[in-house]
C-alpha cells in the first residue's frame, strides 16, 4: 500500500498575463501543479513556454494574475515583507546564470554568512560560523580557505553554481526551485552539479522542482515530468511514462529533436 505523501506546494488555475489590450500575452495559462514531499519534479518546455514565469510566481517574485498557490495546505500569504521572508525560508532557488546571481559588491563570506543569519545563526560565535561555512563548501567540493576574501567574479562558472548549492546546503529549505541550473555549464561539470543536487535531496529530504529545456536531463533526475507548451501543461506523468512513450505530438517532437547516440537522429523532421 503506497504511503500517503504530504502535499507541499500546489497551485490551482495559476495564470499570469503580461500587458493588456492588444499586447496581451498569456504567459502561464491555468496551471495546476501538485508537489509532494521528497519528490523531484521536472518542468520541461522550449524557450518562451512560460517555465521561468511559473517559477517566479512560485517564488513570489512576481504577482499572479489569477489562481492560488497553496503552501503546506494553507493559502500562501506573502502580503508583507516579513511574511515573504518567512516564506523564503521554505523555498529557495538556483538560477540559470551563475554570473548574475550574486551581488558583485559582496564577498563570498558575506554570501554564506547571510545564509547562516537567515537560519537564525546570527549570534553564533565566529568560529562556529566558519565551521558551518567550511562544511557547506566541502559538501560541494570547494575549499573554503581558498574562497574566503574573494569576490564572486573571481570564480569560474561551475564554481559559482556550486557555491549556489552550498548556499542551499546552509539554508536547508523545504523546496528547491532549480531554474536551468546547468545550462550555462559544460557537460562535464553538469554531472557534478546534478550529483550534488541529488545528494541534497537524499540527505535532507528536499523537494526539488527542476526547470529545464533538456529533456534528457529531466529524464535523468526526476520522478515526475510536466511538459509545458505555451503556458499550459500538455502532458504529465512519471518520467519513464512521459519520455519513453510520449502521447502528445509536442512531447514527441521535443524528444525527436534531441541528439541521441543509440538511435538514429532524424534530421528530416524540422
Amino acid at each position: 500500500m503506497p504511503v500517503e505523501k504530504k502535499l507541499y506546494l500546489s497551485t490551482s488555475g495559476l495564470t499570469k498575463v503580461f500587458g493588456f489590450g492588444r499586447n496581451k500575452t498569456l504567459a502561464v495559462d491555468h496551471v495546476d501543479l501538485n508537489l509532494y514531499e521528497g519528490e523531484v519534479v521536472s518542468i520541461v518546455g522550449e524557450s518562451g513556454s512560460g517555465k521561468t514565469t511559473l517559477a517566479k510566481m512560485l517564488l513570489g517574485l512576481i504577482s499572479t494574475t489569477e489562481g492560488d498557490i497553496y503552501f503546506q495546505g494553507k493559502k500562501r500569504d506573502i502580503s508583507t515583507h516579513r511574511k515573504k521572508k518567512e516564506y523564503w525560508k521554505n523555498i529557495q532557488a538556483i538560477f540559470q546564470d551563475p554570473f548574475s546571481s550574486y551581488n558583485i559588491f559582496n564577498k563570498i563570506d558575506t554570501v554564506l554568512l547571510d545564509c547562516i543569519a537567515m537560519r537564525g545563526g546570527r549570534r553564533l560565535p565566529y568560529a562556529k560560523k566558519v565551521e558551518l561555512m567550511t562544511e557547506a563548501c566541502s559538501f560541494v567540493n570547494l575549499k573554503f580557505e581558498e574562497l574566503t576574501n574573494k569576490y564572486p567574479f573571481e570564480l569560474s562558472g561551475g564554481q559559482m553554481q556550486r557555491l549556489m548549492i552550498a548556499r542551499i546546503f546552509l539554508l536547508k529549505p523545504k523546496i528547491l526551485l532549480a531554474d536551468e541550473p546547468t545550462s550555462m555549464i559544460d557537460a562535464c561539470s553538469r554531472a557534478t552539479i546534478l550529483d550534488e543536487l541529488m545528494q541534497l535531496r537524499n540527505e535532507n529530504g528536499m523537494t526539488i522542482i527542476f526547470i529545464t529545456h533538456d529533456i534528457g536531463l529531466a529524464y535523468y533526475v526526476s520522478d515526475k515530468v510536466y511538459i509545458m507548451e505555451h503556458g499550459k501543461f500538455v502532458e504529465s506523468g512519471s518520467a519513464d511514462e512521459v519520455i519513453l512513450s510520449p502521447r502528445e505530438p509536442y512531447t514527441q517532437r521535443l524528444i525527436n529533436d534531441v541528439p541521441k547516440i543509440y538511435e538514429e537522429w532524424d534530421l528530416s523532421t524540422v
Partner: protein, 341 residues
C-alpha cells in the same frame, strides 16, 4: 585517396598575459581534415578548444601569438603570413569561422543586407550592390532561409534565425573549411536541430568542402562528425572515428567525458553519471608529466615523471596515455563490473 583540405602540423600558439607570462593554450597539435569530412573537437571548457579554432585561421591578434608549426589549407601554407594579408585573402574565402556568440556578431544598427555588403566589399571592391543582393538572395534561398531576413535588423530575428543568418554570411565567399565553434550552445533543441540541418546542407550542396565542429555536447558531436579529437589542457589526448570515441574511448579523460553523456533514451536512469573531479591544470606552468594525472583514477607513479607522447595504434586512432591499450581495456572492464554490483 581524398586530399586533405586542412592540414596542421605541430601547431603551437600562446597567450602572453599582461604580466608577461606565456600560456601555451595550443600545444603541438597536429590534425588533418579531408575533403567532405567533418572533424569534431571535444573537451571541457578551458581546455583550449576555442583557442585552437582561432589559431587554425592563421589570424593572430594580441594576446594570442603564433609560436611554431604549419597550417596548410588546400596546399597553401598560411602560417607566418602577415595578419592583414590573411584577413583579406584567407579569412572568409579559404577558411571561415562561426564564433561562439554568433548572436552578438551582427551589427544591431544595420540591416542584414548592409552587413553582407560590408563583408563582400572588404574582399572585392568592384562588386555592385545589386550583384551582392542577388548573390545573397540566391544563397539564402538555397539554404532555406526566407529572403525577407535580408531587409531586417538583427533585433527582429529570433535566436535560431540569427545564428543561421550568421552561418549563411560566413559561407558567402565559398570557403573551403568552415570552423563552427559551439554554434548551438545558446539555442533550444529545435533551433539547434535546424542549425545542424543547415550545416549538413552546406556540406551536401558543396558550398563548403570540410568542417571543424567544436562542442562539449557529445551526443551532438557523435551525430554531426566523422572523426572526433578529444582535447585536454591544450593537447590532443585521443583521436579516432566518432563511433570509436563515443563507444570505446581509451584515454581515461575521454572515458570520463563519455560518462557524462545525458540522452533521453532507455537505460539512462540505471547508470550513474561519472563526473571527473577537480579542474584542468593552470597552463601558465603545466605539469611536466601527464597533464591529466592529478585527476586520473588510474594514475601511477611514472605518469607525472615525463611527458607522454601521442601513441598511434593504427586505423587513425591515437591516444596519449602511459598505459597500454590492452591493460586499459582490462581496467575499464573491471570498473564496469564493480559498478554493476
Amino acid at each position: 585517396m581524398s586530399n586533405a583540405m586542412l592540414e596542421v602540423r605541430e601547431l603551437t600558439t600562446k597567450y602572453i598575459t599582461r604580466f608577461g607570462e606565456d600560456v601555451y593554450a595550443v600545444d603541438h597539435v597536429s590534425l588533418k581534415v579531408e575533403e567532405g569530412k567533418t572533424l569534431g573537437i571535444a573537451g571541457e571548457s578551458g581546455c583550449g578548444k576555442s583557442t585552437l579554432a582561432l589559431s587554425l585561421m592563421g589570424y593572430y591578434f594580441p594576446p594570442l601569438h603564433y609560436t611554431s608549426g604549419e597550417i596548410i589549407i588546400d596546399g597553401h601554407n598560411i602560417s607566418g603570413m602577415d595578419p592583414d594579408v590573411v584577413r583579406k585573402m584567407i579569412l572568409g574565402a579559404e577558411i571561415a569561422y562561426i564564433p561562439q556568440s554568433a548572436m552578438n556578431a551582427l551589427n544591431p544598427t544595420q540591416k542584414i543586407i548592409h552587413f553582407i555588403e560590408d563583408v563582400i566589399q572588404e574582399h572585392d571592391l568592384y562588386v555592385t550592390k545589386k550583384d551582392i543582393s542577388d548573390r545573397a538572395r540566391i544563397l539564402f534561398e538555397t539554404l532555406g532561409l526566407p529572403a525577407e531576413v535580408l531587409q531586417k535588423y538583427p533585433v527582429e530575428l529570433s535566436g535560431g534565425m540569427k545564428q543561421r543568418t550568421v552561418i549563411a554570411v560566413s559561407v558567402l565567399l565559398l570557403p573551403k573549411v568552415l570552423i563552427a565553434d559551439e554554434p548551438s550552445s545558446a539555442l533550444d533543441v529545435t533551433s539547434q536541430k535546424m542549425v545542424i540541418k543547415m550545416l549538413r546542407q552546406l556540406m551536401e550542396t558543396g558550398l563548403i568542402s570540410s568542417m571543424i565542429f567544436i562542442t562539449h555536447e557529445l551526443p551532438l558531436l557523435y551525430n554531426v562528425t566523422d572523426d572526433i579529437m578529444v582535447m585536454y589542457a591544450g593537447q590532443i589526448v585521443e583521436k579516432g572515428s566518432a563511433r570509436e570515441i563515443v563507444f570505446d574511448p581509451l584515454h581515461p579523460y575521454a572515458k570520463g567525458l563519455m560518462g557524462s553523456i545525458i540522452v533521453p533514451e532507455k537505460g539512462l536512469r540505471d547508470v550513474k553519471l561519472a563526473a571527473i573531479p577537480g579542474v584542468p591544470p593552470n597552463l601558465k606552468n603545466p605539469p611536466s608529466g601527464c597533464r591529466f594525472a592529478k585527476r586520473c583514477k588510474f594514475a601511477r607513479m611514472e605518469c607525472e615523471a615525463f611527458s607522454i607522447p601521442l601513441r598511434d595504434i593504427g586505423g587513425g586512432r591515437a591516444y596519449r596515455c602511459i598505459i597500454p591499450e590492452k591493460e586499459l581495456r582490462e581496467i575499464y572492464a573491471k570498473e564496469a563490473y564493480k559498478n554493476a554490483r
